[in-house]
């Protein structure tokens, strides 16, 4: 039975290929290409997008630009696709790749991010509810919004949407100040809440533990081990002991 299905499927596919081969006189394109368009260079983009082209030399992505015949395509069109039709049409819709609406252009180089957005816990970029440009600025300055020498910090970029996690708290979690990426991978992970680790190691990597005689584990001065101890209940926060992982109004141990 299985063999018959394979033969039937193969015959159907072959028939389709033969029919298409002799009847089709057109081209299908793998996204994000622009049918019929050719590269015209960044200078022509300047006519309408003068400020973007002017500022681009300050962008992290400007590092892609080099002098030489082999690198001529590494301007605006390396992300936006060949611009001849967009140019001729005076900027008509659907004649240029817009990475702000589809991440496909970004994924051409950032392959690892494509897979991370396909993991069980991820920001909804592939679903079209967010775009790469919500957190990244490809045209000017640093590629990541916030952090480095920018006025805004990395933490503020995340708190723009995740305000409840941003605080203010009477008792802060120091890790939040170091940056949300200490505990979260914002593109996506195999773990719930985009956590970089799902078990107690997430906390223990900074919250140094001391192993004492008799199998004891002391964390922050308190015993946590044992068959019925705190560590056996599960992860520091999943076991219901340290719920206030972003900060607490109540106490320094961030219990709630």
């Amino acid at each position: 039975m299985k063999g018959r299905i394979v033969i039937l499927a193969s015959s159907s596919a072959l028939s389709l290929i033969v029919i298409s081969c002799v009847t089709i006189n057109r081209v299908v394109f793998a996204p994000p290409e622009i049918p019929g368009a050719t590269f015209v260079g960044s200078a022509s983009c300047k006519e309408c997008h003068a400020e973007i082209v002017r500022d681009f030399k300050t962008a992290d992505h400007a590092r892609l630009q080099a002098k030489g015949d082999n690198a001529t395509d590494m301007g605006c069109e390396s992300c936006h696709g060949p611009g001849s039709i967009h140019n001729q049409s005076g900027g008509a819709y659907h004649t240029i790749v817009n990475p702000g609406k589809s991440p496909e252009a970004c994924f051409q180089c950032h392959l690892d991010k494509r897979s991370q957005f396909n993991l069980p816990s991820h920001h909804p970029v592939l679903e079209g509810k967010m775009s790469c440009s919500d957190c990244h600025n490809p045209h000017k300055g640093r590629a990541t919004k916030g952090g480095g020498h920018q006025l805004a910090s990395e933490h503020e970029t995340c708190a723009k949407c995740h305000q409840a996690q941003g605080g203010s708290f009477v008792f802060e979690h120091e890790a939040v100040r170091e940056g949300c990426t200490t505990c979260h991978e914002p593109h996506g992970t195999v773990n719930a809440k985009m956590l970089v680790s799902r078990n107690a190691n997430l906390c223990l990597k900074c919250h140094f533990q001391q192993q004492t005689a008799g199998g004891g584990v002391v964390i922050g001065g308190r015993e946590h081990a044992g068959l019925t101890g705190f560590l056996s209940r599960g992860t520091c926060w999943s076991a219901g002991c340290h719920e206030a992982v972003h900060g607490s109004q109540i106490g320094t141990s961030l219990r709630y």
């Binding site: 030489g68 020498h149 920018q150 195999v190 223990l204 140094f208 001391q210 560590l231």
Partner: protein
Amino acid sequence: MKTRSQAKIGSRKVLNAGMLAGAWVACVVSVGAAETAPAKVSDSKNASPDDAAIGDRLEYNNWLEMSAGGYFQSGDRAQFQRGRNTRRGAFGGVEDFHWETPIKKRGLFKVDGRAIFDNHDYSLKLEVAHPETGYLRFGYREFRSYYDGSGGFFPRNRQWISLYDESLQVDRGEFWFEGGLTLPERPQFTFRYSHQFRDGKKDSTSWGDSGLIGIAGQRGIVPTFLRLDEKRDIFEADGKHTLGNTDLGLGIRLDWSDINNSRNIRRRPGEALVPPVDHFVTQRDVVETDLFNVHASTETRLNDQLLLTSGYSYTRIDTAVSGSRIYGADYDGVFDPGRTGAGSGFIGLLGDSETDQYVMNLNLMFTPWDDFTIVPSLRVERQDQDARDSFRETAGALGNFVSNTRERGLLDVMQGLEARYTGWRNWSLYARSEWLEGQGTLRELRVATAPIPPSPLPIFRDTDSSRFTQKYAVGANWYPLKRANFAWQYYYKSRENDYTHNTDSTFAGNDRYPAFLRAQDFDTHDVNLRVTLRPCSRVTLVSRYDFQLSTVDTQGGIGPAGIALGKVQSAEMTSHILSQSATWSPLGWLYFQGNITYALDQTDTPAVDLKSAGTYLVLPAQNDYWNGSLAAGFALDDKTDLQAQYNYYRADNFWDNSAASQPYGAGAESHGVTLALIRQITKSLRWTWKYGFFDSRDQTSGGNNNYQAHLVYSSVQYRF
């Protein structure tokens, strides 16, 4: 640091190298095939139905796309909705709408919209714009996100506790309008008002505990959910003007937010013990925040070689908090002294805080030669924060009245230097370094007053901290051929945090953070390499490798034996990500696209050696996975396309250590297949039909989160 899992990683590396080599061989074979394929130029006047002919694309500026479909699903509904980010059942409406019409000479009026019933997926945007006058825009957007509110699975006795409908959802939305006055050669003004909201329920990973696990003790496996009610209003106004060779910017931002969220926990459900241990716990967090920000910037082109930019920002944040953590007979119940059991909560929380933040930055972009650029940068931030609150503890009955005060200050100075060189033909070289020096102070006072004396001693901490961060990055882009380019980057980052505890009255045996840490050093090495090859016009291959190694060295305070602790390596984190993509168009009417990623990721701490009940108490945290997709596009006839896609995901990190603790490692596999038929009926009318099948199996939940689903979908697009 040696762990028992290193052998596993080692064997996977060999396997991975073999698979990568296999992928390359396949690609090379594909390349050869492509080169013998009949040549069809890409500037054909006919395109796929999806894109129509170029002339058609320019002829129609407006479109309306209507769609209808449905997901038919079996298995766990909540996990399906979370995984596919859509609801089960039928949906339909306006997929995409765009209409525009010119106003006077160069003006334009545009309407964009989307409304999918009943996925709560709506948007509307209106715009009137004139390039030499300004613009007015109005918009509304709302969409729903789906969550699975289930708890944890305990393999030892296959315990899986379900308390409520776990198909949770949160609606997010925004109403906004903005305007701008953009007269040429005049100061430009823009403003924007936005009202944002979040409303609904989502899952929490802070699970309640259960003793129904077949062995002694408890595990945190009982589902918990969050109830969100967040509102926010933001007003921004900015002005910009060019004076000579300087662009000046000045703006303000006012931000009011109102958060009324709760965490809803159930502890020990179904356990009939005396005294009772089955409790509902509701923690309510109410936060009202007022933010005022003023910012200014300058950009001065001193000459063709020098660009000086500067920025300044002052932010004031005032926050008022209130809330409670109540043990009761139901979620959001009233405080019941008889139900607190082993837990503790609080009532009557009232507090406030003030934060002042000052930031300035300065960048000088200097291009002494056409192919060399250097950018020194400086950033200074000062932050002062005062916070205080008070509440009454509950532990069996009304407990201590507690008041907390905290003062925090920090000063960070960051310097940077970046250089780029493009003097070698087809090469781009760059380097960047950053140094941050920071000083901080933290003073905390906790005073508890007992209903019946004596009261506990106050806790006072006074800590000075310093941190020093260094980051060095170097990279190169090389274009040896038109059809080949290489990108490589390496960075090293180190951060040293030191804490001096001038005063710490925390008594021994108690939770001693944050005064416990004396020093913490973080080191990271990160390298990535990307190779892009276009061996012929029909084939594109991109390979990428990302590697990261991080360590954390920590020094604590006084150990249990009263001896000062030395510095130890408290963590080692290793990550390898290998990715490959390939696009191949063997014939003009056929293309294939494939992507595959394999990741090896592990976090180890000294705790992974701990054993209890004959097994490991804390397992190495592994995030290994396979992820891949294969797509094909095929022209059936002059008006019809067939598109097929397959997606695959697999994680194999589940290790049952339930005898000692709760296992969390991700063990899952999912497959998705979609088949789409696209028919260009007329020049302006396109019909799409799609079928999809999705299968997801989850070992971590003991199969309780497995699902299968079928998608049937159709849409019609009309361009006009």
